[in-house]
């Protein structure tokens, strides 16, 4: 084949990829945006979601993701600090790395089963905000560790050397020099983790349940946006509300991802 033809072929395939993805988003938006009104966002669903809004599901999503992050972010970042700043090549970091990598490959349904057995039943937290958040935190932990590790490794050694030469301890160096420099990279990882947590269905439906009520305590069952969408769409309760829920979900995730990549881009530009 000639270069021209090959390029044309590959360009068309790329076009196809982009078109498929744009069509999916477009389809959801065209059908979902008309119903996406302020009352839809701020009202409670009525008749199982046939009418009314998605307010409790938004609250559920924010609570679950927020709490998952409060748990996973410190643990993940400190794990990354340990792996990059505090270890030589011993067995311990090898085990930690093996654990993180394995965790990253586990399907969300397995996290769901585990969360159900461990948090819901064994710790007797029931189908609740807390069970769901704890399960999600386990699920997003590897993402945070991996991206934080990369960000911390990218901090030039010279920074550390200067700080250590000035008499700082290793920990002081980490908190005052390394982490501040790595912050944008870490933030990107955290945002990607949020994106993943917000869109998760399988792990959440088995641990947080699917109650439509506004949760009053962390031990109340709740329903996140993707779970609400899944139930509305699959059981044919209301296609209009399903599309609008999906539109909220996609806009939320796109906004977070755009923010994440913007930070990353700015970082890349600063480096070059």
């Amino acid at each position: 084949m000639t270069d021209r033809r090959v390029t044309l072929l590959f360009a068309s395939i790329t076009g196809l990829t982009v078109i498929i993805l744009v069509v999916i988003i477009g389809y959801v938006m065209v059908n979902g945006l008309p119903g996406l009104t302020l009352p839809f966002l701020l009202e409670s669903p009525r008749e199982m979601g046939r009418t009314g809004g998605v307010f409790p599901a938004i609250v559920g999503t924010v609570l679950l993701t927020g709490i998952a992050l409060i748990i996973a972010a410190p643990v993940g970042i400190l794990t990354a600090v340990y792996l990059t700043e505090y270890t030589r090549d011993t067995w311990l970091p090898k085990i930690v790395r093996f654990g993180t990598e394995s965790l990253a490959g586990i399907p969300s349904i397995i996290f769901g089963l585990f969360g159900f057995l461990f948090f819901v039943i064994y710790l007797d937290l029931g189908w609740s905000v807390l069970s769901g958040a704890l399960t999600l935190s386990a699920m997003i932990l590897p993402t945070i560790v991996r991206t934080s590790e990369e960000a911390i490794r990218a901090v030039p050694d010279a920074y550390r050397e200067v700080s250590l030469a000035l008499g700082s301890t290793r920990w002081q160096t980490v908190t005052s020099v390394v982490l501040p420099s790595a912050k944008p990279g870490i933030m990107t990882g955290v945002m990607l983790a949020i994106g993943r947590a917000i869109g998760e269905t399988a792990a959440v439906i088995f641990t947080a349940g699917s109650s439509l009520r506004l949760p009053r305590t962390l031990l109340d069952s709740t329903r996140t946006l993707p779970v609400h969408f899944y139930i509305l769409a699959r059981e044919g309760i209301s296609l209009e509300n399903a599309y609008s829920t999906a539109a909220v979900l996609i806009l939320l995730i796109l906004a977070i991802n755009i923010a994440a990549y913007t930070i990353m881009d700015r970082l890349a530009k600063k480096e070059s």
Binding site: E47, M48, R50, I205, F206, A208, R234, E235, G236, I237
Partner: protein, 259 residues
């Protein structure tokens, strides 16, 4: 939690067997079942509060509007594979069933299938709504669901020439019917008695009717309809319309959709 007078009631999820077990072991005062009591559960006292009809549904464009029980059984066993064999067009039948463990599935298996198995080639969905969506979109499909969830996008067909309705359940002519039972231990406390009489009262029965169930008070005297219990296997049903109640975390007292 729902306040009825001064009693607060906590509803837990699970299937019929879980409901009976909880009542037997004393974990709960009342166990809810969507099937009759089996084996050692018979030491419990059953109170039937309503009946649920299971409707056979097809696409509205499907000319077939009546099947007898043998035909239904043959269709779900994949012995009859074309609609032309039962008065429809020459189209392959797409069988849609519920997942194993669901109350609707076990009631259907008990009443219609007996010891015959539903074909493993059947499409399986885990909610009444999902079954309805498939049948509403596929002119060749047949499925079943609780009568209360039938809407105009699908067509309920007659079984043995009887269409499912509150009346045909009440006068014992429609065959696919299962009881909704509250099971209690001997010597229930006053609150339990109050709750049961509340469920049998006018207000609660009206709510059940609105949910698409057939109130027990409207069923003709001379006993409940007798579904054929040909299958000795214990069934794992679930209390109430499973739609609103028993998927993980669904709140037991919220009404199901479509009702």
């Amino acid at each position: 939690m729902n306040e009825v007078g001064n009693i607060s009631i906590n509803v837990q999820g699970g299937g019929s067997s879980a409901g009976a077990r909880a009542a037997l072991s004393g974990v709960a005062e009342v166990g809810m079942l969507s099937r009759d009591l089996h084996g050692d559960e018979k030491t419990l006292i059953p109170t039937i509060i309503a009946y649920d009809a299971i409707a056979l549904i097809v696409h509205p464009s499907n000319p077939c509007d009546n099947l007898d029980i043998v035909e239904i059984k043959s269709i779900f066993a994949e012995e009859i594979t074309s609609w032309s064999e039962v008065g429809g067009k020459a189209r392959k039948i797409h069988v849609v069933a519920r997942e194993e463990g669901s109350g609707t599935r076990s009631a259907f298996d008990e009443i219609i299938m007996g010891i015959t198995e539903v074909t493993p080639g059947a499409i399986v969905q885990d909610s009444n709504g999902a079954v309805r969506e498939i049948v509403a979109g596929d002119p060749s499909a047949i499925g079943y669901l609780s009568l209360g969830l039938v809407d105009k996008r699908v067509k309920a067909i007659a079984v043995q020439s009887v269409l499912p309705s509150i009346d045909t359940v009440a006068n014992n002519t429609y065959k696919l019917v299962r009881p909704m039972i509250l099971a209690t231990r001997e010597g229930p406390g006053r609150e339990v008695m109050d709750f049961i009489s509340f469920c049998l009262g006018e207000w609660a029965q009206a709510i059940l009717a609105r949910e698409g169930l057939v109130p027990v008070t409207s069923v003709a005297p001379g006993g409940p309809p007798e579904p054929g219990h040909r299958d000795p296997e214990p069934a794992h049903g679930n209390p109430g319309l499973e739609h609103g109640s028993l998927k993980p975390g669904h709140d037991g007292l919220e009404p199901g959709p479509d009702n």
